[in-house]
């Protein structure tokens, strides 16, 4: 897992204070998680509920990603879950953030992460500017 370049992108996201958890996932399956110590502890108390809700959202994503569904989000108690869908797939970059987080700033880095992951997944395909780290 440590050498997985996608996990390294997730590691970077998780270092942001308001990203409590992040992963690349699809329905019933978390494909890639950060390589470090996993999610931040405060997510644990609500993880089971969030996980169940996430699976339902992935049902919608798999139904509509082919016709351009790009992002989704839902709020559960004091948390928001953001889904950045990889175009034409049933996979999404998912992040759990506190409700009162500065979401605009996080969105910018989520989008950069999505682009980086796309570049890793499709190295031959030209994606938007991504700066090497």
């Amino acid at each position: 897992m440590k050498d997985d370049p996608i996990a390294r992108v997730l590691d970077d996201l998780l270092k942001l204070e308001d990203i409590l958890a992040c992963m690349v996932a699809r329905r019933n399956m978390i494909s890639v998680m950060p390589s470090g110590e996993g999610f931040k502890p405060e997510v644990n108390q609500i993880w089971d509920n969030i996980h169940r809700a996430m699976d339902d959202v992935f049902g919608v994503i798999s139904a509509y990603s082919q016709i351009g569904l790009g992002e989704m989000e839902f709020r559960l108690q004091d948390y928001e879950v953001l889904f950045y869908v990889f175009p034409d797939t049933e996979n999404a970059l998912v992040a759990i953030v506190p409700t009162l987080a500065n979401k605009g700033l996080l969105e910018v880095e989520m989008e950069n992460a999505r682009r980086e992951i796309l570049k890793i997944m499709n190295p031959e395909k030209k994606t938007e500017n991504v700066v090497s780290r």
Partner: protein, 460 residues
């Protein structure tokens, strides 16, 4: 556009004995190249990031930079600290390079849009003189800080023969004082705490320099001191929380300071502010101000907040810490200051009073509105003002609320800028109080605005 009407003189007439090294100029026989490079780093470790951003920038230049602008997000505070970050930069860039900058909410450049990392703009050009200035204790005594800083620029450029003058004034942004039992909230419901907070804010401002940035006052004084400069104003900030911010000047890390970069050059240059805010048909009159004209206490002779809610047809109790971000920021208001229009957002509510980030006058006010599309159109409108210029490089200060509002769609703005600049370098930083000044347009200070300074050559 007025700013570009200064047609450059033929090359032979250009001054040669200025602050620049004369030998550097003698090598230039034809119209010299402006070398401008933008670099960035996404590394986490402060020292490594400093080195990385400097290397990525400098390696694009053939000659040493005449100045180095450096902006970073607040993250390096926890990953080695800003002194280490600057040390990393100085491991790479030539000694004596004027360096200026500070922490910002995010930045945009030729590579993308980022709310984490560091970016720099370095420029090398033979026909340009450079000076830097600093003024301290901006929150306690803004006028004195502005004067100190402007004097350094005046002194540094007094022998320059170039007529086109530019100033970047970068000021420590607001820091929210923490109120006991409340913390750093943007909406205080309790009347008692609001009353206490209003008084505490004044004390905090003077004693510990936590409070409003007072960038509007510094900007006004700077304009008074240096009226023949085209100026762009930006403020230093953290990640939108308003807890701390730092300014960089050469190898120093500063707080509560104003740092200025002054340029005198033969390059054509211009500044412009656009904001995209539109008037609604809702107006009111400010009938009572407070907190040294920073708080709107009464509008239409009634307590300000309930009356504002009535005018907006919003139910009582609608505003909360959360809805404030999602609603009120989209309804800025157009205030007046010394006859100028000042569109601002309402960032802080204390019971029935609305706190504003700058000194305002009472009188008639329009409620404005703005959408994401309006903000993007404001960028197009701004760049349209520079159609007559062949850009060499550009610098932008933009409201952090725009970054917060547009989120990932900020990339649309980046695409607009890339289309305009093509392979030329640009750097945009997000701040918390911005504006421009030119002799022709006077001061334009506005929240939610795009502020541009473009350097280049008039198209023939």
């Amino acid at each position: 556009m007025q700013e570009f009407e200064q047609i450059p003189k033929p090359l032979m007439d250009q001054p040669t004995s200025t602050l620049q090294d004369v030998s550097k100029k003698k090598e230039v026989a034809v119209l010299p190249d402006v070398e401008a490079a933008v670099g960035m780093s996404r590394k986490w470790d402060a020292r490594e990031a400093g080195r990385d951003v400097a290397e990525n920038t400098i390696r694009q230049l053939k000659t040493p930079p005449d100045f180095f602008l450096l902006f970073s997000t607040i993250h390096y505070e926890k990953y080695g600290g800003f002194q280490e970050f600057l040390n990393g930069v100085w491991d790479v860039i030539p000694k004596e390079t004027p360096l200026l900058g500070g922490t910002v909410t995010g930045f945009m450049n030729n590579y993308g849009c980022f709310s984490r990392g560091a970016s720099a703009l370095a420029v090398s050009y033979p026909y340009m003189d450079v000076a830097v200035g600093v003024g301290k204790n901006t929150k306690r005594n803004p006028n004195r800080a502005a004067k100190q800083c402007a004097e350094m620029i005046q002194k540094g450029l007094k022998e320059s023969l170039y007529k086109n003058k530019f100033l970047l004034t970068f000021i420590s942004g607001p820091v929210m004082p923490s109120i006991p039992g409340v913390g750093q909230k943007k909406y205080i419901r309790s009347g008692f705490i609001s009353k206490f907070a209003m008084q505490a804010l004044g004390l905090s401002q003077a004693l510990v320099q936590k409070g409003l940035a007072r960038e509007d006052e510094i900007f006004e004084e700077t304009v008074k001191q240096l009226p023949d400069y085209e100026m762009i104003l930006g403020t230093s900030m953290d990640d939108h929380r308003g807890m701390k911010n730092y300014q960089f000047l050469n190898n120093q890390i500063l707080t509560n300071a104003v740092v200025n970069l002054g340029l005198a050059t033969d390059l054509d240059l211009g500044v412009c502010t656009t904001h995209g805010m539109k008037e609604t048909n809702r107006n009111f009159t400010i009938t009572q101000l407070g907190a040294k004209n920073h708080a709107i206490c009464k509008i239409n002779h009634k307590p300000a907040v309930p009356e504002l809610l009535r005018l907006l047809n919003w139910p009582e109790g609608f505003l909360t810490e959360e809805t404030l971000i999602h609603t009120l920021l989209y309804y800025p208001i157009s205030l007046r200051r010394r006859g100028r229009e000042v569109p601002i957002v309402m960032p802080l509510i204390m019971k029935d009073s609305i706190f504003v980030p700058c000194i305002i006058d009472d009188g008639d006010v329009s409620i404005l509105t703005v959408s994401g599309k309006d903000l993007i159109n404001a960028v197009k409108e701004n760049l349209h003002n520079f159609d007559g210029i062949q850009p060499e490089f550009g610098l932008f200060s933009t409201c952090m609320t725009i970054l917060q509002t547009l989120g990932r769609k900020t990339n649309i703005v980046q695409e607009e800028l890339c289309n305009y600049f093509k392979d030329k370098s640009f750097l945009l930083f997000y701040s918390a109080g911005e504006g421009t000044y030119s002799l022709r347009k006077n001061i334009t200070y506005a929240n939610m605005s795009f502020n541009t300074a473009i350097f280049g050559h008039q198209k023939k």
